[in-house]
Symmetry: C2
Subunit: 220 residues, 2 copies
Amino acid sequence: MTTRIVELRRGILKKNDELAAHLRERYAAAGVLVFNLVSSPGTGKTAFLERTLRELRARGTQAAALVGDLETDNDARRLAASGAPVRQINTHGICHLDAEMIGKHLDEWQEIALPALDMLFIENVGNLVCPSSYDLGERIRVVLLSVTEGEDKPLKYPTMFNSADAAVITKVDIAEPCGFDRELALKNIHEVRPGIPVFETSAKTGAGFATWLDFLAQQR
Amino acid sequence: MTTRIVELRRGILKKNDELAAHLRERYAAAGVLVFNLVSSPGTGKTAFLERTLRELRARGTQAAALVGDLETDNDARRLAASGAPVRQINTHGICHLDAEMIGKHLDEWQEIALPALDMLFIENVGNLVCPSSYDLGERIRVVLLSVTEGEDKPLKYPTMFNSADAAVITKVDIAEPCGFDRELALKNIHEVRPGIPVFETSAKTGAGFATWLDFLAQQR
């Protein structure tokens, strides 16, 4: 049975890679920069993204978001507070987004036209394992890690951190009560993914967002 | 391809259920009470379990732990500080433990004899989705949620909370700086899983452990 699973898994990932390649062409043709945000549940992806969308809007950047969850549209409602167009994807038990879901939702999303956007953010299902294997055609994969989670997460989930293009540390406002060891976290991130840019942020206080938004602007 | 995946998935889960039933008989024959601890990465399963093992030891209860991670033996080393026998399982990319892994590791674990144990704790891979489908033969599944994670996790990961027999809220010592809404969290847990016992704990201060240990003693 193991051989069949490995073969089938390869087939699924190959099909996903093909669909992701099409998405990548579609994003490029539309001139939209696409991000895929991945993290553990509870890291604060939604709060981080809501503030990012709001601050981009204030800078005149056109951004939208797709957000994946197993159930509920809580995150879409929270993100919509930013004023940006947002669409919820419910995976109903699937532990990650895939390229087919993204393509389908972009086709059905009447409210936005990709060429009118500067940036599209995809907030993945909260999971540090499964989303690492599924390319969504994004140009930049962002892995988030909160100060509450333990500094060894990069070592324990190396594929996720190794496949990321940028890392964001969230909730730095509560680093002290959490006993967060900043040097150790940075060391572990860079051990798994040497040279990756790391942004230390708080969606509550706004710490680190100026640097993060400058990075976004540079990527365009 | 979807039909083949669904069929194969059913086959895998059926095989796991059979192996889990054997494990359940094996645990019963040995008179050992088995727990399966599941949560998001960073909830604090290891700190919670380390303190549980240490306090059980002080009460004269014989307990051991199996701990699953994709990579590293960090958690086994942390748990070993309790003085209890501990064995690390590395899944190398698999997002959950399964009954076959547990059986294999119990067979190979020379240092313990199941009949000599009162309790065995299995700390699953940090993931709020995949472990929910894999029965490990445990009698009690414990889902953990930290005050840092957001009160809506039960609604967003209903299968995990719905399949649990007990819920533990961790890190209550930092509830205030995290702005944790206790009433909302309890409401959401009970909405998904009515009547489930909930333990509010801090592995740092020891809050809630007396109640939790009394619960463990009652389950024997």
